[in-house]
């Protein structure tokens, strides 16, 4: 592991209690600082399980994980401080307003006072939510909820941001705004680990991708490199379909 590596995963496996097949099977990965790393795969491939383990939601069955030079098992408190998570589901309180939600989550990260207020206002303004900030989240459109969901994960300016399908179910406008701001965030030094079903989006957004299926990493590299390596493929989607086949997944 070099000093440029921010996440190092060695032989990571996870088998849930009562299951015989592992959800994640002996994965090893190295993610460099400042990268936008795409973890791509069909439904049930093990993407969300991997991200959940990396952000300390539940422990792995085996394997070693090192984040920013710290061991995940031993230094979870530090790791949680430097990590931001944007879950696939909208993790907000629907009866609270966007501002109240962000205020609460900001406090949970130890932010307070003017610093917190300024950050909330900046992000609300960036995502075009200032006017709706005092409305209950339950009244928001899917795209608006996604944007607030994202802000809640980046308020504390994390070193590493985990994004689990951040643009699922949103309109093109919201998607463009979200991707643009994520690129800005990355430029400012945040490493992004991102899962998605949108291959086109991943191809243009990610600097590095790994395709995962049945809990195993099938291939890893830059999108450009993967397309060139796969004979007859012109984009990431055809590479993906070739590697994971066209059979439907649950």
């Amino acid at each position: 592991m070099t000093s440029n590596t921010i996440i190092n995963i060695q032989n990571l496996s996870k088998t849930f209690i009562g299951k015989t097949e592992p959800a994640v099977n002996d994965i090893s990965l190295s993610i460099r600082r400042g990268e936008i790393f795409g973890l791509l795969g069909p439904n049930g491939a093990g993407k969300t399980t991997t991200i959940s383990i990396l952000c300390g939601l539940f422990p792995p069955s085996s394997g070693k994980i090192n984040i920013d030079g710290m061991d995940l098992r031993g230094d979870l408190d530090y790791i949680k401080q430097i990590v931001g998570v944007v879950p696939q589901d909208i993790a907000l309180y629907p009866t609270l307003t966007a501002r109240e939600n962000l205020n609460f989550y900001g406090h949970m990260y130890g932010l307070k006072g003017k610093a917190l207020r300024d950050k909330i206002e900046m992000w609300l303004s960036n995502f075009g939510l200032t006017d709706a900030a005092n409305r209950r989240v339950s009244t928001y459109s899917g795209g608006m909820k996604r944007r607030v969901n994202l802000i809640a994960g980046v308020l504390h300016s994390p070193k590493i941001l985990f994004l689990d399908e951040p643009t699922v179910g949103v309109d093109v406008q919201s998607r463009t705004v979200i991707i643009d701001y994520l690129k800005e965030l990355n430029k400012s030094g945040t490493t992004i680990i991102y899962t998605s079903h949108h291959m086109d989006e991943a191809e243009h957004f990610c600097t590095q991708v790994a395709i995962i299926d049945h809990g195993k990493i099938i291939i890893e590299g830059t999108p450009k490199h993967l397309i060139e390596e796969s004979l007859g493929s012109t984009n990431l989607e055809t590479v993906f379909l070739k590697l994971t086949n066209r059979a439907l997944r649950d």
Binding site: G56, L57, V85, I90, L92, P94
Partner: protein, 420 residues
């Protein structure tokens, strides 16, 4: 806190419904208390004797705190034939008929007995034996819904009246007979008989230095239903925790740099506060609103510190239990059913619905395991017996231990669930 404030229905359940519950339960049980303690049970009395016994029984019933005395139906003097029908129709719970010549029969029997004892009239002795077989039959008609305990009280009172009259007659007859044997002796007056009643009873409720606190519906119901309402916060608390799981907020919270207990601390503070507000509201119902309906005012005893300790201990116990249920439940329905049923069960065995002293022995043993019972006992100790901080400490400590045990269980369950 904000989430709770936004949930108006939830707030209504938390604050208004328990107040309504106290109003309703106290009013209902007040009539039950009155039926035993005040002039509530209607008795129809027919005195065909028109002599000492009939008059004494009638007077005794009139003065009795057990019943409301009636000797007429629709303004007309009741007859013996009408009594059974009136009771059967439900107009009266008990009907009593003292037959004609009842006093005279007692008099004759006593007179024969005295004469036999003193041997003053040997000629009469043979006949007296026959006359002594005359018996006095007082008819009592009972509505089947009448409580057995009340019936026992009425028959005991009747026996007492008969016994007093019998003794009076015996005393007078002895006195008269002795006057005949010893001519110099003056006939004893009835006032002398009254003086022989040297054993008297005084009923005092065994409370400590708080004057005359009479057990009534308010003293029993206000603390009982307040505790019930405080424990009912389990429902919204567990519900909000399950909601967080389902809505995904808990996912985000678990990825944040704070422990489970720290995450839950906010909820504990809010719900303990809710319990305290509930307590103040319920108490104000007992102190200010129930008296407006003609009910007795709640008497708080003489230990404010004791009340604060028990209230806080109860609030923490209820909150801890809510956190435990919320951690264990995986769906809102599960949380609601688990929470509601367990609280109903705890309250039933804890003596909220029926006092523990009327429960069978086995249930009384079980009630010692209900946190509601520990709380209720403490409030009874303060409100009814005038207890001090010292006397409520054991049960309050149990409530505090219950809080820590439930929180520990919640923490372990949470850890197990997150290991998946």
């Amino acid at each position: 806190m904000l989430i709770l404030l936004r949930d108006r229905v939830g707030l209504a359940i938390l604050f208004i419904m328990p107040m309504v519950l106290i109003f309703v339960m106290t009013l209902i049980q007040d009539s039950a208390f009155k039926s035993l303690n005040e002039k509530g049970i209607p008795i129809l009395f027919v005195d065909d004797d028109k002599d000492s016994l009939g008059i004494a029984i009638g007077q005794g019933l009139k003065n009795s705190e057990l019943c409301s005395f009636h000797d007429s139906i629709n303004g007309k003097p009741a007859s013996a034939d009408e009594v059974k029908k009136a009771v059967a129709d439900g107009g009266f719970l008990v009907g009593i008929i003292v037959p004609k010549g009842a006093t005279e029969a007692i008099r004759k029997n006593v007179s024969s007995l005295v004469q036999q004892t003193l041997g003053t009239d040997s000629v009469l002795s043979a006949g007296a034996t026959k006359k002594m077989s005359d018996s006095v039959e007082i008819s009592i008609f009972i509505d089947p819904i009448t409580k057995k305990s009340f019936l026992t009280s009425v028959t005991s009172s009747l026996r007492e009246f008969i016994s007093v009259i019998k003794t009076k007659i015996m005393f007078k007859t002895f006195s008269d007979q002795l006057a005949e044997i010893i001519p110099d002796k003056k006939t004893t007056t009835s006032s002398v008989f009254e003086k022989t009643q040297i054993i008297k009873y005084k009923e005092v409720y065994a409370s400590k230095d708080i004057g005359e606190i009479v057990p009534n519906a308010v003293q029993h119901n206000v603390p009982a239903w307040t505790i019930f309402a405080m424990f009912f916060i389990v429902l919204p608390l567990a519900g909000s925790m399950v909601k967080e799981k389902n809505e995904g907020s808990i996912f985000r919270l678990h990825t944040m740099p704070s422990s489970f207990l720290l995450l839950i601390n906010g909820k504990i503070v809010v719900y303990v506060l809710v319990c305290l507000i509930q307590f103040i509201l319920m108490l104000s119902v007992g102190l200010y609103f129930l008296p407006l309906l003609g009910l007795p005012t709640l008497v708080l005893g003489n230990s404010i510190a004791g009340i604060i300790i028990v209230t806080l201990a109860t609030a923490f116990a209820a909150t801890g239990y809510g956190v435990m249920v919320g951690t264990m439940a995986t769906t809102e329905q599960q949380g609601a059913i688990m929470g509601a049923l367990s609280i109903l069960l705890f309250s039933a065995i804890g003596g909220v619905w029926v006092p523990t002293y009327v429960m069978p022995q086995t249930m009384r043993h079980l009630s010692a395991f209900s946190p509601l019972n520990w709380s209720l006992n403490s409030f009874y100790e303060l409100f009814l017996r005038g207890g001090s901080v010292h006397s409520i400490l054991p049960d309050s400590m149990k409530l505090v231990v219950f809080f820590f045990v439930t929180m520990s269980i919640a923490s372990v369950v949470n850890r197990i669930k997150r290991k998946i």
